[in-house]
Amino acid sequence: MELVVALAIGVLTACGVWLILRPRTFQVIMGLVLLSYGVNLFIFAMGRLTADRPPILHGQTVEVAQYADPVPQALVLTAIVISFATTALFLVLLLAARGLTGTDHVDGKEPGS
């Protein structure tokens, strides 16, 4: 499981970084989305990878090792909400830039023009 998660984070991040460095705004936004997936998975993995363990304490006898760490899950939730909102904002900006400059290049003008 570790290998699969690590590969997933690596591939998502690599694709995200590559796309962010591309010249078109749509590629940049896709890159940001992929990068945020990679980062969210990474935060999640920092709570250690476990299967079939509840995050909420239950009952009187508490053996912490039997539970998943709930904090990274809460952090991921916050991070997802924030990146969702900023992606929405970025989409609007992307459309505004397209409308105002007439091109989807990130510098607002075609290279060489």
């Binding site: 962010i20 705004t25 940049v28 940001l32 990068l35 945020s36 980062v39 990474f42 935060i43 920092m46 709570g47 250690r48 904090v71 990274p72 952090l75 916050t78 991070a79 924030i82 990146s83 909102a85 900023t86 904002l89 970025f90 900006l93 992307l94 505004a96 830039a97 105002l100 400059t101 990130v106 510098d107 607002g108």
Partner: protein, 542 residues
């Protein structure tokens, strides 16, 4: 009364949050929105002043040793979220509210009518700033950074236009990537230590296994990179000058404070990390070289710029570079002057952005023809309300001041003196204090060469700033071609003058200011008190 005062810590976050939310529902009632905004900023200023007073240990029944802590929901420290105020945080809160007040009043002349959500966004920006200064928790630092960045995206776009949209594309992308780095750093630190509370973290660093230490340090380094991007350190600051020029002038004034949040975060997190282990902090000689590179970049950019706004933006970068260079020297006695320089440069550049906005009007005959006029805003239609005419002639606040050119010239000279660090204003005192302390430590083992280099950089930036500002001023005031006398309103000229007067007042009363700053620096460098007080919430709550 005492019991109520303990809750004062949360006021700088709650006031703008509530006011910003209420303003969303006020529709066409602009007067009410303005009143709410002003009231909120004044409440924040009052709260900041009281907190400043309380951190001087004037009220020993509430807080001792200049550190106050507020456990939200009475959850004790490592489990719940805490807000912590110490002298540096209280000072930054006050600075924020003063800059916000002047920028808000300035915007009432024109900018706040350009789009309906201006006041709400402005309040949320203040909430993010105040929260970032107050929080004692790394993840909450991230959340407040996001709050202030999200509002800053909106405010940067405020007024629309091609220039702003183009600048925003770069600004938002860079800051989103910085946020991801921030998250990775925070996650790694949590993964290694199991805590996000800064005070708790300091204790856990010493308990780290040697094999975990490398991962923890890389996490801290990634976090440091995120802070440096926010602060505008080279090579992560190419977005900054374009963005700050594109922003409308009152927003530029607040933005010049925003870079200093990055510096504050470096100071805050760096000193707490250093208490666990000298090696783990990111305040070290690397910061010195980064600062030096930032200064070199800014000086070249400044000398190459023709537009006054760009020169001022590069001044913001220069001050960040100088701050990092000074911190990188790792001389504890230098931290007091560093904070003084930080405050003084924020006052100067904020005021300069406003003066720049006013000075641009000398180019055109009437305000309506000036280049920096926003197109009609579609969001008004979206909210289903009619847009008030931003330039309505019968405006109660539109009283023009006499001798507009004389005022502009004088304000320009004062700002230039402040930024370049020439006597008699506070910029000079700050730079002089930095120089004196640095020269006093040139004999120390290991840092002698660095201290001399810092002195050279300090003087060289002063000269470069003076040269470029003189050129900018000559072009602005002494070339008579096509120049007209602008109409300046009191509510535009007043805020710029207010910030300059504040720095003058700081010069006049430098002794108490310096005493306070030195004690702020001392408490920063002995984080044991901070850590003890925060961890004390565990015993205090049942």
């Amino acid at each position: 009364m005492i019991a109520l005062l303990q809750h004062l810590l949360i006021v700088p976050i709650l006031a703008p949050l509530l006011v910003g939310a209420i303003q969303l529902f006020l529709g066409e009632r602009r007067g009410a929105r303005v009143l709410f905004s002003l009231a909120s900023v004044l409440v924040q200023a009052a709260a900041a002043l009281t907190l400043l007073y309380m951190t001087t240990d004037a009220m020993p029944d509430i807080w001792t040793e200049g550190v106050g802590v507020y456990a939200i929901g009475s959850w004790p420290a490592p489990f719940g979220i805490v807000l912590v105020v110490d002298r540096l945080a209280a000072l930054m809160l006050l600075l924020t509210s003063l800059v916000a007040l002047s920028s808000l009043v300035y915007s009432l002349a024109y900018w706040d009518r350009v789009a309906p959500a201006f006041h709400s966004l402005f309040q949320f920006l203040l909430m993010g700033l105040n929260g970032a200064f107050l929080t004692g928790d790394l993840f909450n630092l991230f959340v407040f950074f996001e709050v202030l960045l999200a509002s800053s995206y909106g405010l940067l776009l405020h007024g629309s236009g091609v220039g702003r949209v183009k600048a925003s594309l770069h600004y938002i992308t860079v800051n989103l990537v910085a946020s991801f780095l921030f998250l990775i750093g925070v996650a790694m630190i949590y993964g290694m230590t199991g805590t996000l509370n800064m005070a708790d973290l300091a204790g856990r660093i010493m308990l780290l296994e040697p094999r975990d230490r490398a991962l923890f340090e890389s996490g801290a380094a990634i976090l440091g990179v995120a802070f440096l991007i926010k602060a505008g350190a080279w090579p992560l600051n190419f977005w900054l000058p374009t963005t700050y020029v594109a922003a409308s002038s009152p927003i530029g004034a607040v933005f010049s404070l925003m870079t200093k949040v990055g510096v504050y975060a470096v100071l805050r997190v760096g000193t707490v990390l250093a208490s666990g282990n000298e090696q783990t902090s990111f305040i070290d000689v690397g910061l010195f070289y980064g600062g030096a590179a930032t200064i070199a970049y800014a000086v070249v950019g400044m000398l190459a710029s023709r537009q006054l706004g760009r020169i001022v933006s590069y001044c913001v970068v220069t001050s960040t570079g100088l701050l990092f260079m000074a911190l990188g020297l790792q001389i504890d006695a230098l931290t007091g002057p560093v904070i003084l320089y930080l405050v003084s440069s924020v006052l100067a550049t904020s005021s300069f952005f406003m003066v720049n906005g006013l000075a641009q009007r000398t180019r055109t005959h009437r305000i309506r023809e000036a280049a920096d006029i926003a197109p009609p805003d579609i969001t008004y239609a979206g909210f289903g309300i009619s847009q008030p005419d931003p330039l309505s002639p019968k405006d109660e606040v539109g009283i023009a001041i006499p001798a507009a050119m004389a005022f502009l010239g004088l304000a320009f000279i004062c700002c230039a003196l402040l930024v370049a660090g020439l006597p008699p204003l506070s910029g000079f005192i700050a730079k002089f204090a930095l120089l004196r302390t640095a020269v006093g430590h040139t004999a120390d083992a290991g840092i002698g060469w660095h201290a001399w280099a810092f002195c050279a950089a300090l003087i060289a930036t002063g000269v470069a700033t003076m040269i470029s500002l003189t050129r900018g001023g000559l072009r602005l005031f002494w070339t008579s071609q096509g120049r007209t006398t602008p109409r300046l309103r009191i509510i535009e000229a007043g805020p710029a003058a207010f910030l300059i007067l504040l720095s003058m007042a700081m010069t006049a009363g430098i002794a108490p200011v310096m005493t306070y700053l030195d004690s702020a620096a001392r408490s920063l460098h002995s984080p044991d008190v901070y850590i003890r007080v925060v961890n004390g919430t565990r015993e205090a709550t049942p």
